[in-house]
């Protein structure tokens, strides 16, 4: 039960950054299959592969940047628990070291092992809140680094305080002090939509995330009042949030964790699923012949959009038989990626007077015929078969991401932020963002 061994691997160079065993030691070679799988899925540009079975070992893996976290187990375990732990491990490492890279992990590997020691006992996760862990394993700081330079040892690596006193809440330790107290919220809403070539909406959903950056002293008790909270259909919360309070009067009340964390995730109840809430329009057109093809896309902001749409990125997935593509755009930068057969078109800001347009000229290989294989009815019939097949219209998916600053699409707003239980009045602020989540336009 639980995790047998944990490997932290650089998936680019296949170098081992760290490993820890809770049961019998598992050879590092077990990770080869994972890395191979990772490269494959990176090549075909898909996500979601999480588990590899290698002999008696079940390997779960989660990749973040150049680092892949691999957990092995030999016995029945809840797979989701392992996956959740690995993702959380990354969150913790990030809050300790900033960007997690091989070099960074090597530099702080003592702290890393301390952390692993605290996070897992006998392969079962114990505490994975960065805020709580910081009370047990102090993060590397400037003071530590200076003292290690001067005195030759690494300063305070582990605090020997009584954990039950230092850590009254698993996510918040005692005695946090800030010179200026502040709490900032980011409400990020992302739009998922699937559109067909005529611009009809097939599916549309809006999901929101509330991220908190909290730098408050002591043990504050924060409550958020939300407007239009009736629009929230599904939600989940950080463990600190009192669920019953929200269920009763829709007030999000919590003792915040220190630093940044995700307070809540919600799904917006769609007033009309057929209405596109996208601030953009994207009109793709595609034609393919036997050896050549052409894709053109027009993209622009809808007149109803209040704020400028920025950082638009369109990923155009061309058919697999594309051998070469030459994208030209009237605005923005377009590049063709040979490995994944896709064109990436990015527009930072839209020009005022004209609508950007992308044209991609394609060279295509002739489609894979029946050549050899089961042996069709002679060469003449094979030829006719090939001649007939190319008339099929292949689909081109356009995936879009974008960002609109300063406005939330759903109308859910944070009305009030109140901090109780402490004397100071913190500075506070709320920002709203809208983003393109999983927007797909089909031709």
């Amino acid at each position: 039960m639980g995790i047998g061994s944990l490997f932290i691997v650089n998936n680019k160079t296949s170098a081992l950054c760290a490993c820890k065993h809770w049961g019998p030691a598992v050879a590092f070679g077990a990770c080869d299959k994972v890395l191979e799988r990772h490269r494959l899925s990176a090549k075909s540009n898909v996500v979601g592969d999480v588990c590899v079975v290698d002999g008696s070992q079940y390997l779960f893996h989660v990749a973040r940047g150049e680092i892949t976290y691999v957990a092995t187990t030999e016995r029945e375990t809840e797979p989701l628990m392992v996956i959740e732990f690995l993702t959380q491990l990354h969150v913790v490492l990030k809050s300790y070291f900033g960007d997690v890279t091989e070099a960074v992990l090597q530099e702080h590997h003592v702290t890393l092992y301390q952390l692993l020691d605290e996070m897992l006992d006998s392969g079962v996760p114990v505490n994975t809140h960065p805020g709580g862990l910081k009370a047990l394993v102090p993060p590397p700081s400037l003071v530590n680094r200076v003292s290690s330079q001067v005195f030759g040892h690494q300063g305070v690596l582990v605090s020997d305080q009584d954990p039950s006193k230092a850590l009254p809440l698993p996510w918040r330790s005692n005695g946090i002090k800030y010179a200026s107290n502040e709490i900032y919220l980011d409400v990020i809403e992302s739009i998922d939509a699937t559109l067909d070539a005529e611009g009809r909406v097939l599916t549309s959903e809006v999901h929101g995330v509330v991220e908190v950056n909290c730098r408050l002293s002591g043990m504050p008790d924060v409550s958020l009042g939300l407007s239009n909270s009736h629009l929230i259909e599904e939600y989940n919360f950080h463990p600190s949030v009192r669920l019953s309070r929200f269920a009763a009067d829709r007030v999000v009340s919590f003792v915040p964790a220190d630093g940044t964390f995700t307070l809540m995730t919600y799904k917006v109840r769609a007033p009309d699923p057929r209405a596109a809430q996208l601030p953009l329009y994207i009109r793709p057109q595609a034609t393919f012949g036997a050896t050549q093809g052409r894709v053109s896309i027009v993209c622009g902001t809808k007149p109803s959009a209040e704020k400028p749409v920025e950082a638009v990125r369109l990923e155009v997935r061309l058919p697999a038989r594309t051998s070469f593509a030459d994208p030209t755009s009237t605005h923005g930068v377009a590049t063709y990626d040979d490995a994944s057969h896709s064109v990436l078109w990015s527009i930072e800001t839209f020009p005022k007077d004209k609508t950007p347009c992308l044209t991609v000229a394609l060279n295509m290989e002739e489609s894979e015929g029946g050549g050899g294989g089961g042996g069709g009815g002679g060469s003449s019939s094979e030829k006719t078969a090939r001649a007939r097949t190319v008339s099929l219209q292949e689909i081109v998916d356009v995936q879009a991401t974008f960002a609109v600053k300063g406005v939330g699409v759903s109308g859910i707003k944070v009305e009030s932020v109140q901090v109780r239980n402490e004397k100071y009045t913190p500075s506070q602020g709320v920002r709203y963002h809208t983003r393109g989540g999983r927007v797909v336009v089909r031709t």
């Binding site: 950054c17 760290a18 592969d49 079940y58 006992d121 097939l202 689909i395 089909r442």
Partner: protein
């Protein structure tokens, strides 16, 4: 060490430092020790003394660490020492140390399973612990060491239910483990949520589509009627429900599984909503979620209808995920959503990922088989695909058409004729075989079709040598069928074919032709077998079923690794079946009553006074639990109406219930429960 090199040669000099007073050095030595002790068991024994010293250290952090490291040393000889230490630490005043003790139990168990009795004893004492922080680890230990000892849980069941919401933060992931425990507990202690569900399950085993539907309807209708659930059963469901709002997908899944198995059907939609939402929130968990949802859908398709669009395929999905999504979509298809589904599937058919297209064709076929009203549209779009550039796709399309035609031959005559004419353009052996079968004309008897069939067979025989074995056999069969219908014209053709087959390299074909030669006497003497020829080639054939390519016929428990990998992983324990008769409730009641009389049992007080106040008074729990209650108390109390009433009334009701049960120990708890309820009503009216 971190790079996996052998560092055991430094063992003595590193371990010497264990006596060092500084905590940091000690921690580093410990990390080293755990890693290398296996290679140097003898030297490792030398360090035991200093562990013993540390176990008596004043700082709980040091005690916990010493125990943790000591139990992690995988050397058999020290097991007795470790067990002693665990026993001692299990009663430590600091919850942090007790938690380490709980974690040490499974470690010792893995090292030496013969000590199980001593360990169970420790688990039993530790289950009495009332700090959620500790209890979650104890439960993990219980799961591993003695999952069969359900009897140990009886007295703690209610306490555990109440604590669920409260289990500290990520420790909530452990609540996944815990809910599994509760799940297996509930499965052995409570009846099925509604009797009809049993019928549904039986029906599902027996047949596929239709009986299941009716059974489901029966189930939904019966759940409308007032149903009987044990109070404790209800309590379990109620106390787990808030966990569906967890950020941890593992918790959501575990609770979802629990409710899926235990809750009455009317409650399940809520669970499904949470599951679908969790799937969206965590991209990594998608695949596993899908697999589980797929298993759920197979038994209760109607429940997922409202989430139809959540399972549309996204371009970034891996093939495995796409297969699962298609599987789910075909399960939830109904007459209402059929048009939307068909439009969606048709978009997938144009994908340039041919494997995915092949899967989609299967899905289209399955939908059409379920809903004959869309079959015509499906067959037409599949006919187009029979000319798909990919051999695999084209083959799949023809095979599916054949199956659909066989379901309902009357409707698709002209489609079949067009398909049959296309023989030359089809390359996949399976497709050619399917066409050859259709040309056999079993389904159609009209004169025009016969002409066409004859023509097809003639053309097929021309290239006979280059066909695949599968197709050859089918051509042979079809020609024989035609011979039965029109011996004079087909006769010479068949004779030629027999000659070709007799010289074929494949044993199967030579074998077949020997039988047929005896049956169909072309230009020879008829054998007695000849009378059987019609019966043999033109017998009634069952319409082919279109099995799902991703069929999860896996019966493992939801949320388990075994379900995900589709085989029983080592250590997998199947869910116990529901009992047929209600097991006695007394197993739980007795403890509560006894505890009442002495008025010191955790669970009892927890029930009335809210276990926070209780855990504060508990000598061992220290400040972790009391501080925890600051933030959690209301989250818990609202989810649990009993303690809700008490948070306002304080200890008053606690004492009243104590007195009532003191007077009449039999009716004690129910009495007290009623009082609590009355009290609550009064509060509500305020």
């Amino acid at each position: 060490m971190s790079t996996g090199q052998d560092v055991s040669s430094f063992f003595p000099s590193v371990v010497m430092n264990i006596g060092e007073a500084t905590f940091e050095v000690k921690v580093l030595v410990y990390i080293y020790l755990v890693r290398t002790a296996e290679q140097k068991p003898d030297e490792a024994l030398l360090s035991i003394n200093s562990f013993q010293k540390d176990l008596a250290h004043a700082n709980p952090r040091v005690r916990a660490l010493a125990l943790r490291v000591m139990s992690s040393i995988r050397v058999n000889v020290i097991v007795p020492v470790v067990i002693l230490a665990v026993k001692k630490c299990a009663l430590d005043p600091s919850p942090y140390v007790r938690k380490s003790a709980a974690h040490a139990i499974p470690k010792v168990f893995r090292l030496d399973a013969t000590r199980v009795e001593e360990l169970v004893e420790i688990v039993e004492t530790m289950l009495r612990d009332s700090t959620p922080f500790v209890l979650s680890s104890v439960v993990a230990a219980f799961q591993e060491v003695c999952p069969d000892r359900i009897d140990l849980i009886h007295r703690h069941f209610r306490k555990m239910c109440r604590m669920l919401v409260d289990v500290d933060e990520w420790g909530q992931a452990r609540s996944a483990l815990r809910t599994f425990l509760l799940l297996s507990y509930a499965r052995t202690q409570f009846l099925r949520p509604d009797g009809a569900k049993k019928a549904a399950k039986k029906a599902e085993k027996r047949a596929r589509e239709k009986p299941k539907m009716s059974a489901l309807e029966a189930a939904t209708s019966s759940s409308a009627a007032p149903e009987y659930l044990d109070d404790d059963h209800r309590l379990l469901l109620k106390s787990t429900r808030p966990l569906l709002q967890s950020q941890n997908a593992g918790v959501v899944m575990a609770v979802g599984a629990l409710h899926f198995y235990l809750a009455p059907i009317s409650d399940i939609p809520k669970v499904l909503r949470a599951l679908v939402f969790a799937m969206r929130c965590k991209p990594e968990s998608q695949l596993i979620m899908l697999k589980n949802i797929c298993a759920m859908v197979a038994t209760q398709a109607s429940l997922f209808r409202t989430h139809f669009a959540a399972f549309y395929v996204h371009p970034a999905d891996s093939l495995e995920m796409r297969a699962l999504k298609l599987e789910i979509l075909t399960h939830v298809a109904t007459a209402e959503n059929a048009p939307a589904l068909l439009r969606e599937l048709q978009a997938y058919l144009r994908s340039s990922n041919y494997e995915f297209v092949a899967l989609t064709i299967r899905a289209v076929g399955r939908c059409a088989a379920i809903m004959p009203q869309i079959a015509a549209v499906c067959v037409r779009s599949l006919l187009e695909l029979s000319l798909h550039p990919s051999e695999k796709v084209a083959g799949e399309a023809v095979v599916v058409i054949r199956a659909l035609v066989q379901h309902n031959p009357g409707e698709h005559t002209h489609i079949v004729m067009r398909l049959v004419r296309r023989l030359e353009m089809l390359l996949a052996p399976a497709a050619r075989a399917a066409v050859a079968w259709l040309a056999g004309g079993e389904l159609y008897h009209r004169g025009k079709f016969l002409e066409l069939s004859l023509d097809v067979v003639r053309r097929a025989i021309k290239n006979f040598a280059s066909e695949s074995d599968l197709t050859k056999l089918q051509i042979l069969n079809s020609t024989c069928k035609l011979y039965v219908k029109d011996p004079t014209r087909v006769g010479p053709l068949l004779k030629h074919l027999f000659d070709l087959c007799a010289a074929d390299p494949s044993v199967d074909i030579r074998d077949r032709v020997r039988v047929f030669k005896a049956m169909f006497a072309v230009g020879g003497n008829a054998t007695p077998l000849a009378t059987l020829k019609e019966k043999v080639v033109l017998c009634e054939k069952a319409a082919p079923r279109l099995p799902s390519p991703a069929a999860p016929t896996c019966a493992h428990a939801l949320g388990s690794l075994s379900l995900f990998v589709e085989h029983a992983a080592p250590g997998y324990r199947p869910l116990p079946p529901h009992p047929l008769t209600q097991p006695s409730r007394a197993v739980r009641e007795q403890y509560y009553n006894a505890a009442n009389a002495s008025s010191r049992d955790d669970g009892r007080k927890g029930r009335k006074g809210g276990f926070y106040s209780e855990s504060e008074s508990d000598s061992g729990s220290g400040s972790a639990s009391s501080a925890g209650s600051d933030s959690d108390s209301d989250s818990d109390s609202d989810s649990d109406s009993d303690s809700d009433s008490d948070s306002s009334s304080g200890s008053g009701s606690g004492s009243s219930s104590d007195s009532s049960s003191g007077g009449d120990s039999d009716s004690g708890p129910s009495d007290a429960g009623k009082k609590g309820k009355v009290k609550k009503d009064a509060d509500d009216s305020d």
